[in-house]
């Protein structure tokens, strides 16, 4: 019985699809304009933080003009309440804000990613315990705890980074955990396990590369939150010592820049924070959307299918 099939089996016809090489993030940046726009914005501010201080026209601590001087050819963004050049402050302050944002997000990525991977991969009791802990962290009002901790420990750059980072990991942990849980049940992981592969190998070879895009997406979103939180802490007077976009807002507020009409003292740092956050949001969201298969179909929309009155098959094929 059972005929022998032709030697080539289905070998001749490969289902040709463009080979992506598997790097989702590069693909997302290529295909989604919003992600690219986000990258450009964030890239601009990163470059500014790196090279900005060297380009600053004036000192960021010394008075270089009259108090609250409006923007002019000498002071492109005017001066603040003590006559310091706002543009110079922006260039220096961006460095602090971005360092806090990136470093805190990194802390959150390590802690959240680690907890997420362990909880999702180990499952059972470990998972339960870790997720309960995460739940508790979720209900703590972040900002208040940050204030409390910053107050208790005193303000410094590393404290602010740690405080923010150690409170922002929860969503990363949850997202990573659920992704790991689903990858763990994929057939290729089960097969590697049944072959006797070590946990370390499975995590390193199969699980981490798979969660990496999602982890990066949430981390990029976390940067936005961290920069936000930095400005809030600064506004409450428990932020990083020195100048940052957050402290610029705070000082402008304290010195009633609004009622004096000195908008240039707070609009630049406010917009800068806004732009960085938008940049991070666009990037992170684009990656997340690209990874979410549930967003690919829509069974309902305002537009509907079209009816072609003169069926012309040849034309349809030609296009």
């Amino acid at each position: 019985m059972k005929s022998v099939e032709p030697a080539l089996a289905e070998g001749t016809a490969l289902v040709a699809r463009p080979s992506s090489g598997g790097n989702e993030i590069v693909r997302v940046l290529k295909e989604r304009r919003s992600a690219l726009a986000g990258l450009v914005i964030v890239g601009f501010f990163v470059a500014m933080a790196v090279f900005g201080p060297a380009l600053a026209p004036y000192s960021w601590t010394q008075q270089s003009g009259p108090v609250y001087a409006p923007p002019s050819s000498e002071h492109w963004l005017g001066t603040d309440d003590s006559g310091v050049d706002v543009l110079s402050e922006m260039l220096y302050g961006g460095r602090t804000s971005l360092i806090v944002g990136f470093a805190a997000a990194f802390v959150a990525m390590i802690v959240g990613g680690g907890i997420g991977v362990v909880a999702g991969y180990a499952g059972g009791g470990t998972d339960n315990a870790l997720m309960r802990t995460t739940d508790y962290f979720l209900v703590i009002p972040d900002l208040v705890l940050m204030i409390v901790v910053a107050t208790v420990f005193g303000p410094s750059l590393s404290h602010v980074i740690l405080v923010i980072g150690l409170l922002l990991w929860t969503s990363t942990a949850r997202i990573v955990r659920s992704q790991v849980k689903s990858i763990r049940e994929r057939v290729y992981v089960r097969r590697a396990r049944s072959l006797g592969a070590s946990h370390r190998r499975i995590v390193a070879q199969h699980i981490l590369p798979q969660v990496a895009p999602l982890l990066i997406a949430t981390t990029v979103l976390t940067i936005a939150y961290a920069i936000f939180d930095e400005s809030a802490l600064a506004f409450l007077g428990v932020g990083v010592p020195g100048v940052s976009w957050g402290t610029m807002l705070e000082r402008a507020f304290e010195r009633t820049a609004m009622t004096q009409g000195a908008w240039w003292a707070f609009v630049p740092p406010g917009l800068a924070i806004g732009l960085v956050v938008i940049g991070c949001y666009l990037m992170g969201q684009a990656i997340e959307d690209a990874l979410n298969p549930r967003l690919r179909v829509a069974h309902l929309s305002i537009k509907s299918w079209r009816f072609r009155t003169t069926p012309n098959v040849a034309e349809g094929d030609a296009s």
């Binding site: 099939e5 509907s304 072609r308 094929d317």
Partner: protein, 329 residues
């Protein structure tokens, strides 16, 4: 007269990165009252798209051409809005995997009554009563109306979905792989239910499936689709005993049967891509009886017997075929 007739149905999809996919290419068929028609083929052959096109259930990226008539009335040409009143009252559908086809947060009863209200066939207590009757008709207790889909097993859910499809007394029931995810015994129960419904209610059934034996057991006629086209159509008996398209023959040969005696062989190769024009017969690369002419001309669907049509050059007597050559030798 046919209740439902599709003529020269074409569906194109705009692809997200440019290009178009010609998913259904000039498919025509009809069903009469109480008749059961099968639409068979492999994944990607356009059978489901053709079925969805009958009801206009296509995404915005789709373009449709051709005609669909119910009792002689054209329902496709007016587009989505003109199609709406015909849905469920003329043509209703049972989807694959009823788990997702039923709304998880609404009771089964409310989902059955919903279309009655919108098509003004029944409302209020009468609708409630009707929903209960329908549930009993499909073999569920009337009390099931107050339950939620997740409280049902797969088979019960599919029954509920069938009851829902009958809500507005449709003339035609479309079923897309209605038993695919079910166990054999439950599958048999659902098929028996569909059979009795067509018999008792005079409902016409269009059954889409990849499973040939299912069609030969349930349907009277069948259409074998390949690469968006009709490869062969006719009575199931003729298709099995006298296939006139190699694809039909090879598909049967690839299907194991219980006797375990017949050889089974897979069909080498894979179906062609539909986003570029195909020269010649789409099945030619996989065909065991292809000859030179198959590479050049696309065969049209020709009458090869009583209500039996096939799209294969082998049936065209005017062409020189390899067998003729062999015979001449």
């Amino acid at each position: 007269m046919s209740v439902l007739e599709a003529n020269d149905l074409n569906v194109w999809f705009d692809l997200p990165h440019g290009g178009r996919l010609h998913a259904v290419q000039g498919v025509s068929f009809n069903v009469k009252e109480g008749e059961r028609l099968g639409l068979v083929g492999e994944s990607g052959c356009g059978k489901t798209t053709a079925l969805l096109a009958l009801m206009g259930l296509l995404p915005p990226s789709a373009e449709v051409a051709g005609s669909v008539t119910v009792n002689g009335e054209e329902i496709l040409a007016g587009g989505e809005d003109a199609m709406r009143p015909h849905r469920w009252t003329d043509v209703a559908m049972v989807f694959q995997g009823a788990m997702n086809a039923l709304n998880p947060v609404k009771t089964v009863g409310s989902q059955i009554e919903e279309p009655m209200k919108f098509h003004d066939t029944s409302s209020g207590a009468a609708a409630e009563k009707e929903a209960g009757d329908l549930l009993e008709l499909v073999g569920l207790p009337a009390s099931a109306a107050t339950r939620y889909p997740h409280e049902f097993s797969g088979g019960m859910r599919q029954r509920a979905a069938i009851a829902m499809a009958l809500a507005c007394n449709p003339k035609v029931l479309l079923a897309d792989e209605p038993t695919t995810a079910l166990d054999v015994m439950v599958q048999a129960q659902i098929l028996q239910l569909l059979l009795s419904l067509t018999r008792d209610l005079g409902l016409a059934l269009v059954l889409v499936t990849h499973d040939l034996p299912l069609v030969t057991q349930v349907c009277e006629r069948a259409i074998v689709m390949y690469a968006g086209r009709v490869a062969e159509s006719g009575a199931v008996d003729t298709l099995f005993h006298d296939p006139r398209h190699p694809y039909t023959r090879l598909l049967f040969a690839a299907t194991p049967d219980l006797s375990g005696e017949r050889d089974v062989a897979s069909i080498p190769g894979a179906p062609p891509r539909l986003d570029r024009p195909i020269l010649g017969c789409p099945f030619e690369p996989r065909c065991d009886r292809a000859f030179d002419h198959c590479k050049v001309e696309t065969p049209s669907l020709l009458e090869v017997g009583a209500a039996h049509r096939a799209a294969c050059h082998l049936n065209d007597g005017s062409l020189e075929r390899p067998s003729d050559r062999e015979a001449a030798r």
